[in-house]
């Protein structure tokens, strides 16, 4: 029996249930718009609502638009349609993604900081001093190790990082745009233009290939040994994600978490807060090999397909360094355009790759760079904005 054969009050009851169900899904973190509810009602007009499995598939096809949400949907469906009048229980039993929890207010930390600043009127000279110092401060700041910065210096570094913009490292696409110096003839525009003069004078229009920045995929180690750097790097990744569209960010400690969506939020504080909420193993141990395996298997084909540059930010201090690590690094290296390993340990002048894990990873990277202060991040940006070399295996080491 389809829904339009029901008695009017039953139909109404049913519609209420669907609306309630959609609301429940929404609170469980699934993006369910009002359009989907209307769709669901019209879908149920054509389906036998007596068959539970069919209703399940129908509603799933409408409400679930990402495979990851299928599990939430299934739990919600089972709970809701067992006892739809008690749908409030649903909210207690479904594991809610972070968005559903109360969001920390944007910029709260900055507001607090602003409030705790001494008032301007108190010491005008103090301000003067600040300005004078700031030039040399900046120079010192450029070279200062993130791990040794004071809170104020970190704040300054964060500001500098937010100002950094990646020049668009270009990747030729196979799409075309009007371009007077382009190589291809734009017949359509040429003809249209020539018609304007009755076909007499032919003014040739050309097409050139569209260029777009190569996607960047960052794998950031958030284990305990990296904790002094994590926040700054996240800020850096947030800043470059703001400037270009295709930046995917994964955090790993003992497990891998995709925080790309969380990091897309405009406000850096809010973005970082939702990142840390998404990660379960903050500042714990490191399992690089397992995390890379997870990445290679589940994500590599999805995020590396369009000639991506991979930034691996890690100190390479792996507990379980065995042949698996070399294997996974090799796979990662072969599936991306360029693999750049950023290692804060390189700040030590006499750094040698003694740790077993580092030795295993080194042969598989295209570049090995330090990343511990502002100037090294600045250098990284310069590197990223250079034209991309063809895929090569040689190891370029640049010391601090």
């Amino acid at each position: 029996m389809a829904i339009n054969h029901l008695a009017p009050e039953q139909t109404e009851q049913f519609a209420d249930n669907i609306v309630g169900f959609a609301r429940a899904l929404r609170s469980a973190g699934m993006p369910v718009g009002p359009g989907a509810v209307i769709d669901a009602m019209s879908a149920l007009q054509v389906i036998e609502i007596g068959n539970r499995a069919d209703v399940f598939t129908t509603l799933e096809a409408i409400f679930v638009k990402r495979h990851e949400h299928a599990l939430i949907f299934k739990q919600a469906f089972n709970l809701f349609f067992r006892a739809s009048e008690e749908w409030k229980h649903l909210l207690d039993s479904v594991p809610l993604p972070e968005q559903a929890k109360k969001k920390p207010q944007a910029g709260s930390r900055r507001v607090q900081e602003a409030m705790s600043q001494p008032r301007m009127t108190e010491t005008p000279q103090h301000q003067e001093q600040d300005l004078r110092l700031s030039v040399s401060d900046k120079e010192i700041l450029q070279k200062k190790d993130f791990a040794q910065m004071s809170a104020a210096e970190i704040a300054e570094a964060l500001r500098a990082i937010e100002m950094m913009r990646l020049p668009q490292a270009e990747l030729l696409t196979r799409r075309y745009l009007p371009d007077p110096r382009g190589l291809r003839l734009d017949m359509r525009r040429t003809l249209r233009a020539s018609l304007r003069t009755g076909g007499d004078i032919i003014d040739i229009h050309r097409l050139g290939r569209i260029e777009k920045p190569a996607p960047i995929v960052a794998l950031l180690d958030i284990s305990g040994s990296m904790s002094e750097y994590t926040r700054l790097f996240l800020h850096f990744l947030h800043a470059i994600g703001d400037a270009r569209k295709r930046v995917s960010v994964f955090l790993f400690g003992t497990r891998l978490t995709n925080v790309t969506r969380a990091l897309r939020q405009r406000d850096p504080d809010e973005a970082l807060a939702s990142c840390s909420a998404a990660v379960e193993d903050w500042a714990g141990g490191t399992r690089i090999s397992a995390s890379l395996h997870h990445f290679n298997k589940l994500w590599a084909r999805r995020v590396l397909s369009q000639g991506a540059i991979v930034l691996l930010i890690s100190d390479g201090l792996e507990r379980e360094a065995d042949s698996r690590l070399a294997f996974e690094m090799d796979r990662l290296h072969r599936s991306c355009r360029r693999l750049i390993w950023l290692n804060p340990l390189l700040r030590f002048g006499g750094f040698e790759a003694k740790a077993q894990g580092i030795k295993m990873m080194l042969p598989h990277v295209d570049e090995f760079r330090p990343v511990h202060n502002l100037s090294s991040i600045q250098e990284l940006i310069t590197t990223l904005s250079r034209p991309l070399p063809p895929h090569h295996r040689s190891l370029i080491r640049s010391a601090a």
């Binding site: 359009g35 096809a61 409408i62 638009k65 696409t173 084909r301």
Partner: protein, 302 residues
């Protein structure tokens, strides 16, 4: 080709697909039925080789509709997906008009940008009326096209119309049956998915896969087909870079059947493993003990 009537229930849909040798899960039949009844595109996602493309082919054959296929690739643009002007023919027409002393510019321009100088590509073809009924439009591997193309699809998929500057708007009298597939090499934008019915196509359960093998590889013995399916299902539980899909199962079963194999032996499996696994690393991992164990489980009688 005659146009068959649309199935009237999920069961009828299931029957229709089965009659063409496509053994679908009930859930897939349900969403396909819904997509036909609601006139909404069907968005199928899942691993490679689970039969996403196949369903469009089967639908078009079973309903007697034309199948129009748009294979996506990076750089796919309007001129290869929707339409293109036949510039050479237009040039000739201009020269002819000149030679005839025709000087009416507006006349010339409307002559030049007419239907007969237009080369229609799949998306425009799909909007044209067809005697057999609206065609089946298969937009295959959308994840390979770039984002700009996806945005272009939004207009077509929600209003089933295309705007051509020189020509006007072409609108389909009846919307085509649209099947979009993606292997998830990248995420498709939510805006596009919202216009579609979404379904994740999973690997089939052992029983269904056995039925599929029997249908698609008719000469195969009951014993061998059972071993093949058990072996493949066991492989999917292994931690491989690329697990074999149904298409690979069928390939493998066909290969074994061609080799007149009666049952799985280490020798025969070793020789034909390339039909199932497509990465050297995966094949290497399948040697030795792992192979012995999986093979033993697959061939044991119970």
């Amino acid at each position: 080709m005659t146009s068959a009537t649309l199935p009237a229930s999920v069961d009828a849909m299931l029957e229709l697909l089965t009659s063409r040798g496509y053994l679908a899960e009930r859930s897939l039949a349900t969403v396909t039925y819904l997509s036909l009844r609601m006139g909404r595109p069907l968005f199928l996602e899942g691993e490679a080789g689970v039969g996403k493309t196949e369903i469009a082919k089967v639908l078009s054959a079973a309903l007697g509709r034309k199948l129009i296929r748009l294979q996506c690739y990076e750089g796919l643009d309007v001129s290869s997906a929707v339409y293109e002007w036949n510039s050479a023919a237009q040039m000739i027409a201009i020269r002819m008009a000149e030679a005839a002393g025709d000087t009416d510019r507006d006349q010339l321009s409307s002559d030049i940008f007419a239907d007969r100088y237009m080369i229609k590509r799949p998306l425009l073809q799909a909007l044209e009326p067809d005697v057999a009924g609206p065609p089946v439009l298969l937009i295959d591997e959308l994840d390979r096209a770039d984002e700009a193309f996806e945005a272009y699809l939004l207009e077509i998929l929600s209003d089933f119309q295309v705007t051509i500057p020189e020509f006007g708007t072409v609108k389909a009298p009846h919307p085509p049956i649209v099947i979009i597939t993606s292997n998830r090499t990248r995420e498709i934008h939510d805006a596009l998915k919202r216009r579609c019915l979404y379904h994740w196509v999973d690997y089939p359960a052992a029983e269904r896969e056995l039925a599929i093998v029997k249908t698609r590889v008719p000469g195969i013995s009951a014993k061998l087909s059972q071993q093949v399916v058990r072996f493949v299902q066991a492989l999917r539980n292994q931690d491989f870079y690329k697990s074999p899909g149904v298409a690979e199962t069928i390939d493998w079963a066909t290969a074994l059947s061609e080799l007149d194999a009666r049952s799985l032996t280490p020798q025969v499996v070793g020789d034909t493993l390339g039909a199932l696994l497509k990465y050297q690393d995966d094949i290497t991992r399948m040697q030795g003990d792992t192979l012995q164990k999986v093979l033993k489980d697959a061939t044991s009688e119970n």
